[in-house]
């Protein structure tokens, strides 16, 4: 789980509004194709939010884990290409590499901006709260339940998988060496895990039915998501403004 519990104003903000603001800012930053400046401003802004939300350290850690391998691949890819093309066309290798690296910089920054934006939202919002907020605002209840239930059963399923492997080992299953040996250990794990998951899905479905989940009409929510009546309007206004700005920057308007 990426979420880091902290009690700051960023944490307490309505998850949907938070996600909307970040998505809108990202859209505008990505629209400008002339250079890296809007992206750099956006990333700096997000780092500022991370400092305010006291999640700068986990943010930098997650960025290193997610973006660094991509950046390495991206640069190696460009360098290999520059080398091959330069050797083939007998061009000045340095000039070619510089031109290619220029392109990587913007692309790399775009990836960095996207990942930073989503991470800031995820670090400051429990995914369950995000799903709840969406459900309270009228998102399809079945969809929201599926997401919320999946979030909750991940640790249980992981523990179950470990228990199954332990049980199979106790019965003499040897996780062998080499590719074939490890591949053979897979079916004894997967069959019981999938079948028990199907079984529990059925039990959950029956429990939901018994509680009238499939009824139509208005529903009440156990969780309250505090927001003023103006906040949903504000979210739509932000999205509309971002879409207009995107269209303008792209020259469509």
């Amino acid at each position: 789980m990426i979420y880091v519990p902290a009690d700051t104003f960023v944490d307490r903000a309505n998850p949907l509004t938070k996600a909307t603001i970040v998505a809108a800012a990202l859209l505008v930053a990505l629209a400008e194709e002339s250079g890296p400046r809007p992206l750099l401003i956006f990333i700096a802004l997000m780092l500022g939010v991370a400092v305010a939300a006291r999640v700068l350290k986990p943010l930098l850690g997650a960025l290193a884990r997610i973006v660094l391998p991509i950046a390495v691949s991206l640069y190696v890819l460009q360098w290999v290409l520059a080398l091959v093309q330069g050797l083939l066309s007998r061009q000045s290798l340095g000039a070619l590499a510089l031109a290619l690296l220029d392109n990587v910089d913007v692309l790399g920054l775009r990836i960095l901006a996207f990942v930073t934006a989503v991470l800031v939202v995820l670090l400051t919002t429990h995914p369950g709260r995000l799903v709840q907020a969406a459900a309270v605002r009228g998102a399809p209840p079945g969809l929201c339940y599926a997401l919320a239930a999946a979030l909750q059963i991940i640790p249980a399923t992981a523990a179950h998988a470990r228990a199954i492997t332990d049980a199979q080992r106790a019965r003499g299953l040897v996780v062998g060496r080499g590719l074939w040996g490890r591949a053979r250990a897979l079916p004894p794990l997967i069959a019981p895990l999938l079948l028990s998951t199907l079984q529990s899905a059925e039990e959950q479905a029956m429990a939901l039915e018994a509680r009238g989940f499939s009824r139509r009409g208005p529903r009440t929510s156990f969780f309250e998501v505090a927001e003023s009546p103006a906040e949903p309007l504000l979210r739509w206004a932000i999205l509309a403004a971002a879409a207009l700005a995107f269209a303008h920057l792209r020259g469509w308007l």
Binding site: V80, L119, L151, T197
Partner: protein, 176 residues
Amino acid sequence: MAIVKLPIYLDSIGTVLVGILAGPFAGALTGALSNVLAGMIMGPTLIPFAVPAAAIGFLAGWAGRFGAMRSTPRAVIAGMVTGAIAARISAPISAYLFGGVTGGGTDLLVIFFRALGYPLEQATFMQGLTVDPLDKVVTFLLVAWVLHASPARLLDQYPRGLAATGRVARAWSEDP
């Protein structure tokens, strides 16, 4: 897959299973939701790949209608077709959003195909074509095996699962 440490993803076993048992749309929804969820937990770069994941679930649903789980050759063909189509859908996403790389070991293949002179999107597609069909063949075979090993009591509740595997529903009168 951490326990057995294999160099394939096998991240769509659940998606394929739901597609087979509950149909194309349930499969597509499972694929998309599980990728969004994985993105929330492991890292946002997985979220755009909800699109090919949805396609995998949808195709698995259709493959089930054609009896993809009735025999090993059928499961292999269904896996290869699904893998190839998933690779085709992933390629532009990977190329335009991430410059063709994912930060994983398969990036070496993209670099290899780019060095051979293929354009970025084609190189990404060819990398997908090298890995995805194999991954989906193993996935389809595992799901077929699980379905055939599942108790009749369970499978009887899923008419689509019965159709996909060619198993016949147990008549109630046969019950002891």
